[in-house]
């Protein structure tokens, strides 16, 4: 299968006074055309940074220090700014968390839409406006002809997020990076927006990288999911597999933390401790201090993604398949 987006060994660093911080440390994954990839993980795991690196909008002093990003085989991580700009919007769209602050309050949404359209497509002003109205209609904004001349503050939160989606899709990109598109919204609206995003991307054949905290959303929306921990991908694989047969201890723990509607437990499972801060990430597997199955080698050898059943996980436990004689530290200590 052709890959639309390929991220390989992506490293993002922040030079600071306490030395260089590695916020992303060898992130690799890919997205097929039309596919929806969910990205989950704790706050600070590096989800947003991955998205920002892909659309080339890392905030200085953040910089890509290694690895590569390819869109349809073409490297885009080292493009000159002017060229990268033409990719953004046209081939990679983006949606951010807060719909209120994503729109410039001083311009009508119509202006922001037509501006985007005309930046990328060679159309007349009238055509652009027509397209904008259609887009709004597609995203389910009633009376689009009228609302197009309204200002962002005249819309409710859910509507604004629809406008943002319309803007992201205005130039028909092949990939949409959606960074927590529903976190700022109401519980009842969330479902609407996710459904809309899913429908409209399917319709246009756009692939989506959906960053979220909400496992439920991932479960019902995505084809595959990547679980991130401390700047690395801990596990990646088909949604169903990851949720029901997590291969990485972290993923497993995470799944059990989620209060479940179906099963009732007196106490939730909890992963003790907290994700290490940047700059204090331990050697070896970043998760080992919290891992109940940590082995000796986890303390100083960092696992890469390796096949683990139907998914791929970065955990030495699964090297067993490759090197069956390895004993777990847990076994030794027990």
């Amino acid at each position: 299968m052709d890959k639309l987006l390929e991220v390989k060994d992506l490293v993002v660093e922040f030079p600071t006074r306490r030395g260089v911080l590695r916020a992303l440390d060898g992130v690799s994954f890919d997205i097929a055309p039309g596919e929806i990839l969910g990205v989950v993980g704790e706050s600070g795991a590096g989800k947003s940074l991955t998205g920002a690196a892909i659309i080339g909008l890392l905030e200085p002093p953040g910089r890509i220090a290694g690895g590569e990003i390819r869109l349809q085989g073409q490297r885009i991580d080292n493009l000159p700014p002017a060229q990268m700009r033409r990719f953004r919007g046209r081939r990679i769209g983006a949606i951010f968390q807060d719909p209120l602050t994503s729109l410039n309050p001083l311009y009508t949404i119509g202006r922001q839409l037509t501006e985007t359209i005309r930046t990328h497509l060679d159309v007349s002003a009238d055509e652009a406006r027509q397209r904008a109205i259609e887009l709004l209609r597609d995203t389910g904004i009633p009376a689009a002809e009228e609302r197009i001349d309204h200002y962002p503050h005249q819309f409710s939160g859910g509507m604004r997020q629809r406008v943002v989606i319309a803007l992201a899709l205005a130039a028909e990109p092949q990939l949409v990076v959606a960074d927590e598109p529903t976190t700022a919204l109401d519980v009842s609206i969330q479902a609407q927006i996710i459904t809309l995003l899913k429908r409209i991307c399917r319709q246009r054949g756009a692939a989506v990288m959906l960053v979220t905290h909400d496992m439920g959303v991932i479960a019902e929306t995505c084809d595959r999911v990547a679980v991130m921990y401390a700047g690395r991908v801990a596990e990646i694989g088909p949604v169903h597999e990851v949720i029901h047969r997590p291969a990485h201890p972290y993923t497993a723990g995470l799944m059990r933390c989620i209060p479940d509607m179906e099963v009732e437990r007196e106490r939730l499972h909890q992963i003790d401790g907290a994700m290490p801060r940047l700059g204090e990430i331990p050697r070896g597997c970043a998760f080992h201090p919290r891992c109940e199955q940590a082995m000796l080698r986890c303390h100083d050898q960092r696992p890469d993604l390796m096949p683990a059943g139907a998914t791929r996980a970065a955990c030495w436990l699964h090297e067993a398949a490759a090197a069956p004689d390895a004993t777990t530290a847990a076994e030794i200590t027990r």
Partner: protein
């Protein structure tokens, strides 16, 4: 976390069977009118926002009542009314048989404040960034004059921190040196300092990651078990609510639309809105299944729909729903405010 920090049976009176918290038809309006001059010139009337409009419920000792609902439905306002941050425009709040708002205004207010504490949503904003953890946790003790001796204070703060799973060595740190979950535990320690009987928790975990959320929820449950705490737990996350609560109240635009035992509510939601909320939860185990989400937007509380406030979004609404506001009544052991349920149109 092993030793209970204190015995909660502080009131000498034998634990009565009467509910600890009784809220009777509490309402709170806010005057959000434009300035006087605008009203005069633009002929606009005064505008009152009914943030909470006649809410009644009870919480028994050692139990948890959860309030759920969309943003802006008045959950936080209820919480603030109970802890005395707002005075109610109508209704009463009885705490342990005492009129709490009368007490807040009188000299006994301090006594009452010791027994009712609150945990806030945002662990980043609810701790003064310029104070040490030690001072933050000790503030209630100092303020109520419970302990004056510095050594005793430190000792007590250390105990409190240990009871929420932190180390007493953390005392000298500042809040920014902690993660979100740890901060929320500091908040809890502060709330526990005065040995309260009733804790109001306004979305205590909605700013936290699931893994951290689990830690905080577990601690809250442990404390309830150990100390017999009573909780009002506010959240919009139904999964969390299901985990922590004994009873659940569903709010819509300032009113309770359904109030039921947890199991009943989740097993058999009555009110169309409750059903809709349950429907909106993405199911972890139903991967890839499409759902039909709630339709319509959250109404403007300044200009609430007539009759049943939910009728514009309700698939079962009829003319009566548009005209008449349903009252909260007990139907089949569940308290619900819906004409359709009452009429048996909806089962």
């Amino acid at each position: 976390m092993s030793t209970p920090v204190m015995d909660t049976a502080a009131p000498a009176a034998a634990p009565s069977t009467a509910p600890l918290v009784v809220v009777e038809d509490v309402a709170r309006t806010f005057d959000v009118s434009a300035p006087w001059l605008n009203r005069v010139l633009e002929r606009k009337p005064r505008q009152l926002l009914h943030a909470v409009d006649g809410v009644s419920f009870e919480i028994a000792r050692g139990q948890t009542l959860a309030l759920v609902g969309e943003s802006g439905c008045g959950k936080s306002t209820v919480a603030r009314l109970l802890v005395g941050l707002y005075a109610p425009t109508r209704g009463r709040f009885w705490f342990d048989g005492q009129d709490a708002h009368a007490a807040y205004r009188s000299a006994q207010g301090r006594q009452l404040r010791r027994r009712i504490q609150m945990i806030f949503q945002d662990p980043y904003a609810s701790l003064n960034p310029r104070w040490r953890v030690e001072d933050i946790v000790a503030e209630p003790l100092r303020e109520h004059g419970l302990l004056r001796d510095p050594a005793a204070l430190r000792e007590r703060v250390g105990q409190l921190l240990r009871s929420v799973g932190l180390s007493p060595h953390d005392m000298v740190k500042y809040p920014h040196q902690f993660s979100g979950g740890q901060r929320q535990r500091i908040s809890i320690a502060r709330a526990l300092a005065t040995q309260p009987a009733f804790l109001v928790c306004d979305e205590p975990t909605s700013a936290l990651d699931v893994s951290v959320q689990a830690q905080v929820l577990n601690i809250m449950k442990d404390l309830q078990r150990q100390q017999g705490l009573t909780y009002l737990f506010i959240s919009h996350n139904l999964a969390v609510v299901r985990h922590v609560s004994d009873h659940v109240g569903v709010m819509y635009l300032g009113r309770l639309v359904e109030l039921a035992d947890k199991r009943t509510l989740f097993a058999q939601p009555r009110h169309p809105y409750t059903r809709m909320l349950l429907e909106a939860i993405p199911k972890l185990h139903a991967t890839g299944q499409a759902r039909t989400p709630v339709q319509g937007e959250v109404p403007n509380p300044l200009n609430p729909p007539s009759g049943c406030a939910f009728h514009p979004r309700c698939p079962h609404a009829n003319a009566r729903c548009q005209a008449e506001r349903p009252a909260l009544q007990t139907i089949g052991g569940v308290r619900v405010a819906c004409h359709a349920v009452e009429e048996g149109r909806l089962r």
